[in-house]
Subunit: 170 residues, 2 copies
């Protein structure tokens, strides 16, 4: 069974990254932005891809591929695993979504369009995920890589812990 914790959309406790916001507008503008960028770059923003991104944006948390499939089914789409994985591949490849390796789950990108190296903060209590930018090449890791002659192509940076909202309610 996939865990879809209820999304109470009234959590106004705010802090950077975990801030409450006008979620409907956020979803709409992100979709519009994605559509624009796909048009500009000649990418095909097909119905499945759009729906998957929309679902990720709506959830606003890490969601597993199979939970996503359930949502796709509800929305009338085909719901075989490859459908979700292909859409997620497309979205990840073009920076509209990211995989959270620690959770084997996916989130919509919080900085669409920006070329960035994402870092994530994952709340182990509510599964909320905040995306920050990271600069791995500038820190200890970058120094180690240069020392070792290792060429970094991609980084996974994920912090697991407790978000401010959950810290208040033990």
């Amino acid at each position: 069974m996939t865990s879809l914790k209820p999304t109470t959309e009234s959590d106004d406790a705010s802090s950077v990254g975990f801030t409450a916001h006008d979620h409907a507008a956020c979803v709409g503008s992100a979709l519009a932005a994605a559509e624009d960028r796909c048009a500009q770059e000649g990418l095909r923003f097909t119905p499945v891809r759009r729906k998957v991104l929309e679902l990720l944006l709506r959830e606003h948390r890490a969601i597993g591929a199979y939970a996503l499939l359930d949502l796709l089914r509800e929305a009338g789409f085909s719901s075989q695993p490859p459908v979700a994985y292909r859409a997620l591949d497309f979205l990840s490849e073009h920076g509209f979504a990211h995989k959270i390796e620690r959770l084997n789950a996916f989130v919509a990108c919080a900085h669409p369009g920006a070329s960035h190296t994402p870092a994530f903060m994952i709340c182990r209590k509510c599964d909320a995920v905040a995306e920050a930018r990271s600069t791995p090449a500038k820190g200890t890791l970058g120094a180690a890589a240069r020392a070792a002659g290792f060429q970094i192509e991609r980084t996974v940076v994920e912090a697991e812990g407790v978000c401010p909202a959950c810290a208040e309610v033990p």
Copy 2:
């Protein structure tokens, strides 16, 4: 420690794992160190746990739980998944091994005993894995976490790229 393999690189670059070294000695001393620490801390370094750590050390790269099971079987141990996962849980929990989230695989810890926050460099060509120390709380991520009121408990830092040996042979 005398080096069996001639190398132009220093063997003691402990933050760098792509260097050649005396592997038999490395395995032996790591096992001895683990045994010592378990004795000191009242941990039970059972045959399965010891064997799993030995196999990880021998492999000296990321290895999946099921590949490990095959090796366990060859060594005469029971080879049902929980056997491997329980041993890996124990080893991870006490810092003798780490999980590479990006690969769903495991490596022996390169800095046994040291309390540390590991960062990994993963060669996408040869699967070699080097472990470096990281200081995520001090970089961009730490700053973002503090700004957000997020309490970091654990971090995953993994860089994927090309190791020096593979870079030379395209």
